[in-house]
Subunit: 467 residues, 2 copies
Amino acid sequence: MSNIDQLAAIVGPGNVITDSNDLAPYLVEERGLYHGAALAVVRPNSTAQVAEVVKLCASAGIPMVPQGGNTGLCGGAVPSEDGRAVVISTERLTRIRAVDPVDFTLTAEAGCILSNLQQAAAEADCLFPLSLGAEGSCRIGGNISTNAGGTNVLRYGNTRDLVLGLEVVLPDGQVWNGLKRLRKDNTGYALQHLFIGAEGTLGLITACVLKLFPRPREIATAFVALSDLEAALPLFARARTASGDSVTACELVPRIGLELGMRHVPGVRDPFESPHDWMLLLELSSSRPGGLRDALEEVLGQAFEDGLAVDAVIAESDAQRSDFWRIREAIPEAQKKEGGSIKHDVAVATSRVPEMIRRCTSAVEAAMPGIRVVPFGHLGDGNTHFNLTQPPDADKAAFLTRWEEMNRIVHDIVVEMEGSISAEHGIGRLKVDELVHYKPEIDLNLMARIKKAFDPNGLMNPGKILR
Amino acid sequence: MSNIDQLAAIVGPGNVITDSNDLAPYLVEERGLYHGAALAVVRPNSTAQVAEVVKLCASAGIPMVPQGGNTGLCGGAVPSEDGRAVVISTERLTRIRAVDPVDFTLTAEAGCILSNLQQAAAEADCLFPLSLGAEGSCRIGGNISTNAGGTNVLRYGNTRDLVLGLEVVLPDGQVWNGLKRLRKDNTGYALQHLFIGAEGTLGLITACVLKLFPRPREIATAFVALSDLEAALPLFARARTASGDSVTACELVPRIGLELGMRHVPGVRDPFESPHDWMLLLELSSSRPGGLRDALEEVLGQAFEDGLAVDAVIAESDAQRSDFWRIREAIPEAQKKEGGSIKHDVAVATSRVPEMIRRCTSAVEAAMPGIRVVPFGHLGDGNTHFNLTQPPDADKAAFLTRWEEMNRIVHDIVVEMEGSISAEHGIGRLKVDELVHYKPEIDLNLMARIKKAFDPNGLMNPGKILR
C-alpha cells in the first residue's frame, strides 16, 4: 500500500486530500507570504487517529506539519515548498469534552474554534479571556502552540497562563497525557510548558484543559487623550491599583492611527473635538458589579489634575464602547488600504515603551524620510505593533523591498533595550533567520538540544522556529 | 592546587566551609529525614563566582547541590551521604537589584529571603503575593526551583506564574541570561519554565525578575461553618464571582484540626458556640477599597439561605483576622505535638476535593482503625494536606513504620482521580521512588532526555527528582 493509501486506511479516504484545488487553502497563509506544497492534507477525527497518522509518517520518514485554523502571521502552519510533507489538520477535532463552572475549567479538543470556546464558557456563566482578531477562525491548538497573546494579557496572561493541561501526540506517535485539571502539580519538569509556544515542532497538541474565570458583570471603558506618550505609564499603573487590578485592556492609539482609520474604515470617528497626538483605550471589567465606573472616574479626575490626561470620554453605552474599540481595531485594516506597511511585533518592559517608540521612530525616519510610523497596541503588557506605513507618494513595491532594512533598525534597538523581536506572533518561518541573528548562541543551543531530545529525526514541523 | 584551594581562590577562603561543625546545618533538612555529607559548602557572592565554581566542579567531575534557605520538605537541597558533592549556597546572593512600581516588577538575586522581597514590594506600595510558612527563612531561588505554592495560589498562581525572567548558571558553568522584564516574548521554547520547578537539577538560578501586583487596600476575612464538606465548592465559586475574582485564600479546616490546635497551640479558639465538622477560612482582598465586605456578606447571606453555611464570623479587626489565620496555621504544629503524623501533599481538581477526602479517609481508616485523619489546606486550588495523626494510644515509632503503606493507599486513590502526589512540595529525594512508581514511563523518559540534554554528566543536584 502507498503511504496515501495507508493514511486513508486510518482516517478514511474522504479525509486525505490530495487534489491540488482542495489542497490550495492549506498551503498558503494569511498574508500570502508563503506558498507551500504537500503530499496530502490528513484530517484525523480523534487522538487515536492522530497517533496512528504520526506513527505512519514517522516510520516512513515523512515530515509532518500540524495545522489548526491557519491564521498565524509567521507561516508556522504552512509546509515548505519541497512537497514532501503531510499536513495534519486538527479541523475535525472539535469536541468540547467538558465545561465545569465549579472548577472553572473547560476541556476541549485542539480543533475547537476560539470563539466557540468563548461561547461555551459564557453559557456556563464564565469567561474564557483569550481574545484576538482571528478568534472566529483560529483554533485553540494553534493558539496554544503559538502561545497567543491578544488584548487581555495584562489581566489574564498569555495563552500559556490559561492552560492547565495538555494532551500531545509526540513525534514518534506516542500519546503524552498531561490532560489534568490541576492548579498545583510539582512532580517533575514542566513538559507542558515546552509544548506551549513550540509551534508544533515538539509534538502535535490534540486536546487541552483551559482555565475559566468569573464572567464580568460591569465594564467601564474610556478613551483618553494623553498629555504626552509618557503619561500613559503612570495612568495605567494608577488604574490597575484603583480598580483592584481590573484593567483588562490598555491599548495605545497614535494620532495617525485614528486618522488612517477615519480615512479608510467606516464608522471610525474622533471622540474628541481637538486632535491629540496620543490616546489610550482603557477598559476595566469585573464580575463584582458596582464601583468600577466610579473608580475609573476617580482615576481620570486625578489624571486631569496631575496633567497626565487632557481629555477623556467614558462610554455611556455598548454602542459607544464598540466605537472606541473600532478605532483601535481599524488600524491594521486602515494601514493596508493606505499602501505598503512594514510590521514589527515587539515588546519591551512596560515602563520603556515610550522610550522604545521614540528611539525607533527617530531611527526609521532618519533612514527613510517621509515614512509614517504607526505604533499601536497593548501598552499594558509592553507589546507594541510598531508598524510603518509607506510615504504618501512612494511606490508600494519599492517601499516593501526595504522590509529587512527596517526590521534591522527596529530590532537592533529593541534587543539593545532587552526586548523581544516577537512578542505574540511567534517565529514560524518568517523570523527563523532573525532569531538566529538575535538569540544568544547559548539559547539556540539549548533549544536545539531540546528539539533533538523530542524529535531526533526532525520530522515534526521542520524549518519552523529552528533552522 | 586542590579542588578546595581552587574554590577558595574563587570565593575567598572564608567562604569555603569544610569544618564539620560549620558544615552541619547545610547537611540536614527541616524534618531530619536526611543527614548528608559534602566536600565543602561554597558561598559565592556573584553570578560570576557561581559560574566559576560550577565550571571548576564540572571539569573536576564534582557533583553540585544548589542550596537556598534549606527549608524544603522533600530533601531537595541536601547532598547525598557519599560526601562527594559540593554544596553551593546562594546565601550571599542577596541584592535586590531593582523595584519598579510602574512595571510592577522586582529584580532580585536568588539568595534573597522571601519576606525581604515582600517587604521591598510593600515599600513601593506593591504586593509580592508569594506567601508560605517558611517565608522568614526560605530564599527566592529555592522558591522558584521548587515552584512553591502557598496560600495565595488560587488568585495569583504558583511561583511559576510570578516569574518574568531568570538568570541561570548551567551545569557546564555557562550563564544563561533570561533576566527579562517582558510580559510577552514568543521567541522559541520556554527555557525559563524548565528551570522553574526543576529543583536545581538543570542549572542553578542566580537571579530573577518577579511580578508585582497592586497592594490590597481592603481585606475581608470570614470563618465559615459549612453544612457539609461538599458545600465548600459552590461557596468558593460564588465568592470568586461576587468579589470580582478577589478571593485570595480559601482554606479548609476540619473539626479535628481546630481541636488539636485548641489542645496544643496557645491562642487557638473556636470562633463558634457549637462544634462544626467542616470550616472554611475565606479571605477576599483588593486594591480597590470599598465594597468587598458587602460582597462577602452577600455571599454568606445567600449561603445561609441555600443551606451551604450554618454559621459564620466576619473579622472585625486585624486581631480577629489573625485569630482566624492562627487556627489554620496551628494545625501542623498541633499535629506534631499530638504524636506521629504521616503526611500527604496531594491535589485533585478542585471540584473533586470532597470526594478525594472521603475516599481516602475511608481507606486509611479501614487499614488502621483509630487513625485520625486531618485533611486541611488550600481547597481553592485543589491542594489538600491529607495528614494522618496516630491513634491516641498508639506507639509513635510503630505508627511511623506504616508511612509507605499509608502513602500507597492515599496516592493510589489520588492518581486514579487524575491528581498529583506532590502538589506544592516537589519531589526532592523523598518522592523519587514514588515518582517512578506513579509517573507514566513516557513522562519519565521525556524528563530523562531533558536532563541528559542539559546535564549530560549528571553533576547538577544528582539523585533529585530523577534516580
